[in-house]
């Protein structure tokens, strides 16, 4: 059952193997940007879009070019260049044709090149042996999982910021500890798939 498989991939990448909370991929922007809801959402959506585009570009190139010419070892370089080019290109296109969208999403795009979640998802798709459609579904799932983590955590951060916290714990330490509890909560999704 193809459909069943897609749902399994989707659920597992959004909830069970959430990139941010379970695999630490893309944790820099998670800790950095996730204080304001609109920022968190903007970043999350941008990452999802870039992940989808990156997968759409890297999967065929890996399968039909790199594997064919036995250049698998060039994977990391080729993927990161594709991602960087895609991000630049998207920014230029958005700026020129949809300025409104560029205003809301554009600022996050440059940060995404070095977001390890994007490179991570493209490499993982290859490592997991997914076909093209499965890869796209998994990228969508990872992006949505990232968005979910960002939005969830955004609420928690604005709550923390109002509290009196010992000086040494202020800022990042308490954020990380809070993130650890959110991550613990995500353990509840274990076993939801398969």
């Amino acid at each position: 059952m193809d459909f069943q498989k897609f749902v399994i991939i989707l659920m597992s990448s959004v909830l069970v193997n959430n990139y941010v909370l379970r695999q630490f991929l893309g944790i820099c922007p998670f800790l950095g940007v996730s204080k304001k809801l609109n920022q968190a959402t903007g970043m999350g959506i941008s990452v999802t879009l870039v992940m989808l585009m990156a997968t759409a570009a890297t999967w065929p190139i890996y399968t039909y070019v790199l594997v064919r010419f036995e250049l698998e070892y060039m994977r990391t370089i080729v993927f990161i260049l594709i991602i960087a080019a895609l991000v630049q290109f998207t920014e230029i296109v958005l700026k020129k044709f949809i300025p409104a969208l560029h205003k809301s999403l554009g600022v996050y795009l440059p940060l995404i090149t070095t977001n390890c979640a994007v490179l991570g998802v493209t490499i993982n798709n290859i490592n997991d042996g997914y076909n093209f459609v499965e890869s796209m579904v998994s990228s969508l799932g990872c992006g949505l999982g990232f968005l979910l983590a960002m939005v969830l955590f955004c609420g928690i951060r604005s709550y923390i910021d109002d509290k009196v916290i010992p000086e040494s714990l202020r800022g990042l330490p308490v954020t990380l500890i809070a993130a650890s509890f959110v991550s613990l909560a995500f353990f509840g999704f274990n076993g939801i798939v398969g």
Partner: protein, 230 residues
């Protein structure tokens, strides 16, 4: 940037500007590969090797690389070294290669390496850049080892695979998992803050210079981000 002696360049990476606990760079591999001391050591040394090599090469090429394409150039150089490390590790340390998995390839986008290329190697001489790379590499490895020691001893009850009495029979397995990693990391940063009375955290420049994406981002967001992080 003020003049720095070679010694201070070498040592600042280990404590004063420790990339993990003070500059808060490279969080992703720090959390992901610090479940075991052996894995942490492998990750630390792999990243250090990439860091030193890329620092040297980027510093060598700093006058040749045009400013506009410097980030892509840095990325290519870094990705090249990462792939080299990957290949040799796959060939000679296959167990370690399997253990590190995707995180090995992700050294490419490790903020520490791109950050050092941007902040230091792109502006300094080869010798200094190499020292910076060595210092940061050692700092990164030591920080990873510290995290990994805590997590492995508590989480698996072993140290580098050697059983620790009592804890081996009563492991706190959540320490091996994601929440334990974030918890230990948060507490360690707090401890470093406490020990230094918060001096380090203020000393570090959280402006755009400290941000690995500084070169390609619009200043506004970056400052925004930086403020939040501070």
């Amino acid at each position: 940037m003020k003049k720095q002696s070679n010694w201070s360049i070498l040592f600042k990476g280990i404590l004063l500007e420790n990339p993990v606990f003070v500059l808060i760079l490279g969080t992703c591999p720090t959390l992901a590969t610090s479940t075991s001391v052996i894995g942490a050591l492998g990750m630390g040394l792999a990243a250090a090797a990439v860091l030193i090599c890329s620092n040297v090469i980027i510093s060598l090429l700093r006058k040749v690389i045009p400013d506009e394409v410097r980030i892509p150039c840095y990325i290519v150089v870094i990705a090249g070294f990462v792939t080299l490390v990957e290949m040799f590790m796959h060939a000679f340390l296959p167990d370690m290669y399997d253990m590190l998995g995707v995180y090995l390839a992700l050294i490419t986008v490790n903020c520490i390496i791109l950050g050092r290329a941007e902040m230091f190697a792109g502006k300094n001489t080869v010798g200094k850049s190499a020292l910076d790379g060595i210092g940061m590499g050692i700092g990164f490895t030591l920080a990873l080892l510290a995290m990994a020691t805590i997590r492995e001893v508590l989480g698996s009850g072993t140290f580098a695979g050697i059983p620790v009495p009592f804890l081996y029979d009563n492991p706190i397995s959540v320490m091996k998992e994601a929440p334990g990693g974030m918890m230990v990391y948060g507490i360690l940063i707090a401890v470093v803050n406490k020990l230094t009375n918060g001096k380090l955290i203020k000393k570090k420049s959280f402006g755009c210079e400290g941000c690995p994406s500084a070169g390609i981002c619009s200043k506004g967001t970056c400052e925004n981000t930086a403020k939040e992080e501070g």
